[in-house]
C-alpha cells in the first residue's frame, strides 16, 4: 500500500465486507502491506470503486 492511511482505509473496507484482513509492515521496503484472502479481482474491484491506490499485489510472495 502506498501509505499507512490507505492501508487502514482498505483494511476497514475489507473487514466490513467480511474479508480477513490485516496490516503488516512491508519487510522489503519501508511501508505497509495488507494481507488478505479472497478473490483478488473482487478485492481490487473494491479498491477501484473506493479510489484506494495500491502499488502491487502478490500471492505467496509472488507478484500477480
Amino acid at each position: 500500500m502506498p501509505s499507512y492511511t490507505y492501508a487502514v482505509k482498505a483494511d476497514k473496507l475489507l473487514k466490513s465486507r467480511g474479508y480477513n484482513s490485516r496490516i503488516e509492515r512491508n519487510k522489503k521496503k519501508c511501508g505497509f502491506s495488507l494481507k488478505t484472502d479472497g478473490d483478488y479481482q473482487e478485492i481490487t474491484g473494491i479498491f477501484e470503486k473506493y479510489s484506494i491506490p495500491y502499488e502491487n499485489i502478490s500471492c505467496g510472495g509472488e507478484p500477480l
Binding site: 502506498p2 501509505s3 499507512y4 492511511t5 509492515r25 505497509f32 491506490p53
Partner: protein, 373 residues
C-alpha cells in the same frame, strides 16, 4: 480572576474531554504514527487515523484528505503556495487574515503570480458582483475567509465557491473563525478548507487542519520523512502524507478529535446560539455608552465576535484597563491589515470573542465596565 474573552485567538478553557485526551495520548500513544510496525507505533497510527475519520466526517471529506498541520496559517500557506506553483492569478478577499494575505503578497511581489483583492461589502450581492468582475482567464485560485477574524462578518462563501466551481477555479476557504461555530462542509463548494484546531474546534495550540476534496493537487512546500516510500528520494504524491512530512503532533491531533466530539455532543447550533446571545447582550449594554462604536452593519451576518472602539481611547489602552479587571480581550490589528484598512481603524480595535464556556454574568459585568468607560 481571569476571564478569557479572546477565544477568537484560541479557546480557553478547553473541555475536560480534550484535556483528558491529551493526557491519554501522553500515556498511551508514545509511538511515531505511520513509522514502524511495532505495537506502540501501530497503536499511535490507529489513533491518528481515527482522528482523521472524525475530522473527515465533521467536514464531509474522506479521511485520507484530512491533513494535520500546525495551525491555520500553516494550512493556508500550504494551500496557497502549493496551488499557485506555476503562477496564475490569485484573488483574495479584503477581509483576509495575514496568514493568507502575506503569502499571497509575497508571491505577487516576487512576480510569481498576479494578485487581486476582492472587496467584501456588508451586502452579499455587492460582494459577489465585485468578485465576479475580478475573475480573469488565468485566475487559478480564490482565497476567501468564511468569517472575518476582526469583525466576525460572514462572507458569501457558498456563492463565491459556486462561481469558482463553474469556472474550474480552486476555492480555498479560511475557516479559522467559523469551524465549530457554523456548520461548514466541503459540499458548500470548498475545494480546500483550512482551519485551526485550537479555536472553535477546542483542540490545543499547535494544531490545524487542511481538508481537501482531492480535486486540486497541492504541491508540498515542505519535504521530508513521511514513513512511506522511504527508499525513494522523491516526496510521495498522495495525501495526507505528501503534506505531512515529519513527526505528527499526536497529542494535539487527539485533542482535536476530542474537541470535535465535544462539539458534536453539544451541537454546533447550540454553541452558536449561546455565544450569539452573549454577543447581543454585550452589544446592547456597551452601546449605551455613546462613545462606543461597534463595527457591525445591519445588512451583514456575523459569527459571535464583536469589534469595537471607545471614542478616541486607543484600543490597547482599553484592553489594558479591562485586563486590570481580569478580562482578557485582544486589541490592535489582530494580524489582519486588510480588514483594518477596510474598517478605517487607524489604531485597530478591541475584540470581544466568547466561547461555549463563557458565562453570562461575566459578559454583563464586562459590558457594564465598558459602558462606564
Amino acid at each position: 480572576m481571569i476571564v478569557n474573552f479572546d477565544n477568537a485567538a484560541t479557546t480557553f478553557p478547553k473541555p475536560l474531554s480534550v484535556r483528558k485526551a491529551v493526557a491519554n495520548a501522553m500515556e498511551k500513544f508514545g509511538g511515531n504514527a505511520g513509522r514502524g510496525g511495532h505495537a506502540l507505533a501501530v497503536r499511535t497510527s490507529e489513533a491518528v487515523f481515527s482522528a482523521r475519520e472524525t475530522a473527515a466526517e465533521f467536514f464531509g471529506a474522506e479521511p485520507e484528505n484530512v491533513v494535520f498541520t500546525l495551525n491555520c496559517t500553516h494550512s493556508l500557506n500550504m494551500a496557497i503556495q502549493g496551488i499557485m506553483q506555476g503562477g496564475g492569478n490569485l484573488i483574495i478577499s479584503s477581509l483576509e487574515h495575514n496568514s493568507s494575505a502575506r503569502p499571497a503578497v509575497k508571491l505577487a511581489s516576487d512576480k510569481k503570480i498576479t494578485l487581486s483583492v476582492a472587496q467584501v461589502f456588508p451586502e452579499n450581492e455587492k460582494t459577489i458582483r465585485n468578485f465576479k468582475s475580478l475573475i480573469k482567464s488565468d485566475t487559478k485560485a480564490v482565497v476567501f475567509t468564511i468569517a472575518s477574524n476582526v469583525t466576525g462578518q460572514i462572507t458569501p462563501y457558498r456563492e463565491i465557491a459556486q462561481i469558482c466551481r463553474e469556472k474550474n477555479i480552486c476555492f480555498i476557504a479560511d475557516s479559522a473563525q467559523a469551524s465549530g461555530i457554523i456548520n461548514i462542509k466541503l459540499s458548500d463548494g470548498i475545494n480546500i478548507l483550512c482551519t485551526a484546531g485550537h479555536k472553535g474546534l477546542y483542540g490545543i495550540t499547535g494544531t490545524g487542519l487542511l481538508v481537501s476534496d482531492g480535486k486540486y493537487k497541492i504541491s508540498p512546500i515542505i519535504q521530508g520523512g513521511t514513513g512511506t516510500s522511504s527508499k525513494s528520494l522523491k516526496q510521495p504524491v498522495l495525501l495526507p502524507e505528501s503534506l505531512e512530512s515529519g513527526t505528527l503532533n499526536t497529542a494535539g491531533i487527539m485533542s482535536v478529535k476530542a474537541g470535535i466530539e465535544f462539539i458534536n455532543t453539544i451541537g454546533i447550533e447550540n454553541i452558536f446560539r449561546h455565544e450569539n446571545i452573549l454577543c447581543n447582550k454585550f452589544i446592547k449594554i456597551i452601546t449605551r455608552n455613546k462613545k462606543v462604536t461597534v463595527y457591525r452593519n445591519s445588512n451583514a451576518e456575523y459569527v459571535p465576535i464583536v469589534a469595537f472602539n471607545i471614542g478616541k481611547i486607543p484600543p490597547e489602552t482599553v484592553a489594558e484597563k479591562l485586563s486590570d479587571y481580569g478580562y482578557c480581550l485582544r486589541a490592535g490589528f489582530h494580524c489582519s491589515a486588510l480588514a483594518h484598512i477596510q474598517l478605517g481603524t487607524e489604531y485597530g480595535c478591541v475584540r470581544f470573542s466568547p466561547s461555549y464556556f463563557s458565562r453570562e454574568e461575566d459578559t454583563l459585568r464586562l459590558a457594564e465596565i465598558i459602558k462606564n468607560m
